[in-house]
Every structure is written in structure tokens, then in C-alpha cells.
Symmetry: C2
Subunit: 221 residues, 2 copies
């Protein structure tokens, strides 16, 4: 006798709607006071990880939702620190606004310079983003050195990204990178969403960016 195939919902829109309801219900039970405008980001980060720590660890600085939605609508370029985060961002929703997503990590020039300087490709890739674009949206889900590089350019070089999503993951440099970036973004009034602590990742980074894109586009879930 066969194992019984589970009875499941197959309509993608219904799956997403029900997921968001469940997350909303569990957040309500946790009695977390999350400002309404930030809720789509918190819910999408939890949706991408099934980890309710994102109800606690996300730090929103300088009205990042307004800034992010404005940037999306203005077609401002998005730059990620990994090709994985790039692959997760819903680029076809950006097309009507003329937006784009780039990642410079795999550029041969970037690897060569990183090697020469004895640092990470992620750091050099962010320097390239700052040279190529005036005020990009930066989505960092992996490399703390990328986040530190961005914060240093803000502090020392007058760089002013439209929005920084700073959610690198890991055990070395990660917490320090986020503390530093949060201080710098506060001081220089740069809109930012930062996952304090160790957690994050490319999936969560893309999910946060997508939440902002869907809000900008008025997509209802």
C-alpha cells in the first residue's frame, strides 16, 4: 500500500495568502508591537526563514520603508553582495519603473583587486557599486566585509545610499559589522534595515527587498 500523498493547497496565491495569515497570527500571539509600515518586511523575512527571531532582531532606521518604496518607484539601481540574493529579487516587478539588480562579486576585475589587497571580493564589489551609482539601494545578505565597506564609505567618503539592507549572516565579523553600520547610518541619516546579531542570509535579504518592491507596486497579500 502506498503512503498517502498529503492533501495540499496548490494555488500559489492562496499558499502565500495563508502563509502570511499564519505569520500574522503568530506575531499577534507574541504580542510584538511592530509598526504597521514595517510589518511587510518582518513578515517576509519570517516567511523566508520560518524563524520568528526576525520579529525581534530587525532594526529600522530613518524611515527605510518610505525611502525604499521611493527608490523602487524612481528606478534606482539595486546592488547585492551575492548572485544568490540577486537571483532571489523579483526583478520583473522592477521593470515598469526602469529598475535593475546588479552584483559585482563575480567580475574578474573585482577578484583581482581583492587578491592584491588581501581582502574580500565583497568589499571591492561594494566599492565598485559606489563608483558606478550615485545613490544605489544596497542589499547585503552574506558578507560583513561588504557592510563594513559601505559604512566606511558613508562615514569617510560622503557616500549616501538610498537604502541599506544589512543582513549578513555568520559568526565572524558579523555582529561587529552590524553595530558599526547601524551607528553610521544613524549618524548620517541613511535609511537602513539591519538584522542585529548573527542571523541573516541571502534568502532573508532578497525577501526584505521583495517586501519593499511589492509594497511599492501595491501588490496585495
Amino acid at each position: 500500500m502506498g503512503e498517502s500523498i498529503p492533501e495540499i493547497v496548490r494555488d500559489p496565491a492562496a499558499i502565500e495568502r495563508r502563509s502570511m495569515e499564519i505569520i500574522g497570527d503568530e506575531l499577534a500571539r507574541m504580542k510584538k508591537e511592530i509598526p504597521t509600515e514595517n510589518l511587510p518586511v518582518v513578515k517576509r523575512a519570517i516567511h523566508a526563514s520560518a524563524d520568528f527571531d526576525y520579529a525581534e532582531n530587525l532594526c529600522f532606521l530613518n524611515t527605510p520603508m518610505e525611502a525604499g518604496k521611493g527608490a523602487v518607484k524612481a528606478g534606482i539601481p539595486i546592488v547585492t553582495d551575492t548572485n544568490m540574493a540577486k537571483a532571489g529579487i523579483h526583478v520583473s516587478s522592477l521593470t515598469p519603473y526602469g529598475g535593475s539588480v546588479s552584483c559585482f562579486m563575480a567580475d574578474p576585475g573585482v577578484a583581482a583587486i581583492a587578491n592584491e589587497k588581501g581582502t574580500t571580493r565583497a568589499e571591492i564589489a561594494m566599492e565598485k557599486a559606489a563608483r558606478n551609482f550615485r545613490a544605489p539601494v544596497l542589499v547585503i545578505g552574506n558578507a560583513p566585509t561588504a557592510l563594513i565597506s559601505v559604512a566606511r564609505m558613508i562615514e569617510e567618503g560622503g557616500f549616501a545610499p538610498s537604502l541599506v539592507i544589512g543582513v549578513p549572516v555568520g559568526f565572524v565579523n558579523v555582529e561587529e559589522s552590524k553595530e558599526y553600520a547601524a551607528k553610521v547610518c544613524r549618524k548620517f541619516s541613511i535609511p537602513a534595515i539591519i538584522a542585529m546579531g548573527r542571523k541573516g542570509g541571502s534568502s532573508v535579504a532578497a525577501a526584505i527587498m521583495n517586501a519593499i518592491i511589492y509594497e511599492a507596486a501595491g501588490r496585495k497579500i
Copy 2:
């Protein structure tokens, strides 16, 4: 006065080594008995998420490490359920063995069939994988319908993947899909690594595959 830039390790190999040491130390403190051969997968899943739940929720069926390393060395094709997971797999380590990574989610034919049948593209993409390849390695980090589709083809169609990495994430269909897939893989002796419960994701899926690729290639961390 400026914020002080954190003193950090910049050498990528040193960062990775130190990360794995920290994860190893915390696992030791948790007193988790993880078989040595599975440890690289557990550690990489934690490395990708900073979430120690992966020390508890990963289920290893039918010596998946041996099966996975053998598949990598034999150049057996890897198929993912998302382009994001595909982007996270270290494909250049597969090149010496003639291996490849595919994802059929964005194929126009797949979307058309899914629409017609009222199901997800992920399900149809896995059916395409089973048609195109005899015994692929399947890496599922997002869609429970993909995992159910694979388990159904194993049970009903005599499909025998070389390895199933089943770590979809979420709140609808996800736990059911994993319970069903685990039962079917047990019954039909299919090697599998499944994250029981809600957690998973494309980052974790790619990290598990990479752990196996690095073990096959004898890369030391």
C-alpha cells in the same frame, strides 16, 4: 569624531575556518551526538543561517553523504527548485567531474503547463527533471510542492534520484511535504537529507549541497 571601524579578519579562508570552529564549539556545548560523516552538512546549514535548530532538525536517510559524494564525483546532474539555490551552489567545484546545476522554474513551457494544470511551476519543473535525467541529485529549498512531486514520482513512477535534499521553508504544506518525502525515501531506500519542521530555504539548501561537494573534492576547512 568618527565611529571606529571594527578590527576584523579579512582573509576569506581564515573567516571560514574560524566560523566552523565557533560552530563546532557551540555544537559541543549543546552535547549533540552528530555522526562524524554528517557533521559537515550540519555545520554548513548552521553557517548559512546562524540557526542551531539545524543541529536538531536534519534527518539523514540511507547514507546520503556517501551517495552525494559519489554522485558529485560521477558528474551526476544537480537540479534545484529555485534559481536562487542554483546561484548558491559552487558550480566551479563540479566542473572537474563534469557536473552541472540546472533549474527549470523559469522555463516558459513549465509556466504554461503549471497554469493549465492549476498547480505550481515547482511541481512541473521537478517532473521535467525526472524526464530529462535518469537519477539526478535534487535540491529543494523552497517549494513543498516540488518535494511532494518528487516523492510521488518515487512512489508511483519508479523514479530513483541519487540524492534528495528536501529543505523547503514555510507555513503551508511544508511539514506535510517533509513527512511524506521522509516516509517514501525510507521505504524506497532513496538517500535523502530532510529538514523536518518548517525551517529551510534556498540558502540552507545550497549550503547542504556545497558541504557535500566540498567533502567530495576533499576541500579542508
